[in-house]
């Protein structure tokens, strides 16, 4: 397949699959080497940047997808509305869950020192966390964990990546002393 044709196929593929895909997945689906896929991705990137285009290829967490260009964010938000950013309490709860998943409500409350009822409901509603069954102890408390949407919204490839990133940061800071 010629490069422009491969790039067009890639574009169609990324468009149909709304979810971000890794280079390996793309290479598998397109039945071509990852070097070719990379070339096609940068071909697309070039096309979107050179033109007056509202969309672009976006990579985060090692996964590629089509997305609107950031400079249109303000405008799209004004037209379609934007979801409110998470409250500090919600972010903090999400951090605890990402850290310890699967985790019960009482464990979360212990770490934060405050009730987590409402925050959990709101995070569930936003689709950022989900129930992961129940713990096998008296009372059978619900276990919570993060979702695929959480990864999509943060651009992380896995929850482990988050931990690694923070650990590196902590080690870096400590080595300063």
């Amino acid at each position: 397949m010629s490069l422009p044709r491969l790039a067009a196929s890639l574009e169609a593929l990324l468009f149909v699959r709304g979810n971000p895909l890794t280079l390996e997945e793309l290479s598998g689906l397109l039945k071509t080497g990852s070097a070719e896929v990379e070339a096609a991705l940068s071909e697309l990137e070039k096309k979107y940047s050179s033109e007056n285009s509202g969309i672009t290829v976006h990579c985060s967490g090692g996964r590629w997808c089509l997305a609107t260009k950031p400079e249109y964010d303000g405008w799209i938000s004004s037209v379609l509305g934007r979801s409110a950013p998470l409250s500090p309490a919600a972010l903090e709860t999400l951090a605890v869950i990402a850290c310890k998943e699967p985790v019960t409500r009482s464990e979360i409350e212990q770490v934060r020192g405050v009730s987590a009822d409402r925050v959990l409901a709101s995070l569930m509603e936003k689709g950022l966390i989900e129930e992961r069954g129940r713990m096998d102890i008296p009372g059978k408390p619900i276990l919570y964990g993060t979702t695929a949407l959480f990864l999509k919204d943060t651009g992380l490839s896995s929850v482990e990546e988050l931990k690694t990133r923070c650990m590196n940061e902590i080690t870096k800071e400590e080595s300063l002393f």
Binding site: E71, D73, A95, Q110, V111, G155, L162, I170
Partner: protein, 240 residues
Amino acid sequence: MDIFDDTGDYEISLPVFEGPMDLLLHLVEKNRVDIHDIPIHKITDQYLAYMNQARKFDLALGSSFFLMAATLLLIKSRMLLPVRSQDSGDESEDPRRELSRSLEEFRAVKKIKLELEKLMEAERPYRKREPGEVKSGIFDRPISAERLMAFFGALWKKEGREQKEQVFEAEEVSLEDRLKLLRSWLGQCREGILLKQFFLSQHTRMELAVSLVAVLETVRTGEAVLYESMEGLSIRRDCL
């Protein structure tokens, strides 16, 4: 209280903390003390001072703040007790140990929270496609007549049942009925279906409830397995 407000101006509002741990960590960092050797006397005083200030400012503090205050006072009183000689070598007897560990954990969480905030902020402007009915110009061909008939049949029965409901005002949803529906879905979509989609196709609470039982039943008998797909929790027929 200049630990909270460097200007000393009481008109300026007090910082708001998410919880007692948040306040405690703030005090530890403000005083630049070692988290493993907290000057409990000083920190407790400052903690209580904040609570006093909060009352003056009409800031509603949750019961969790009071619980922590009690814990701090307890630790403080334990620290005042003379250490018995046989215990002196035992480090684990330090009443502050539990608190240090909690604070350390909370500090790690705060770091992750900041990282998350940064990541989400960076990702937000890149809008992805909203899931819609039209994924593309393409769809599967041919549509199996059997699959359509499954829906057809389900609808037929539903209409019949709704008429019955008007007479008896009771909803009858049989597990068999839902199991059959689920199986027809599973049979047609061998690569699996989104649980959410299946549940959304149910119109009444009773139908929904029985559908859930149907899902659990197929999982229990090993006929189907639940798995995590990119779109969410899904179910598929267990081919093995």
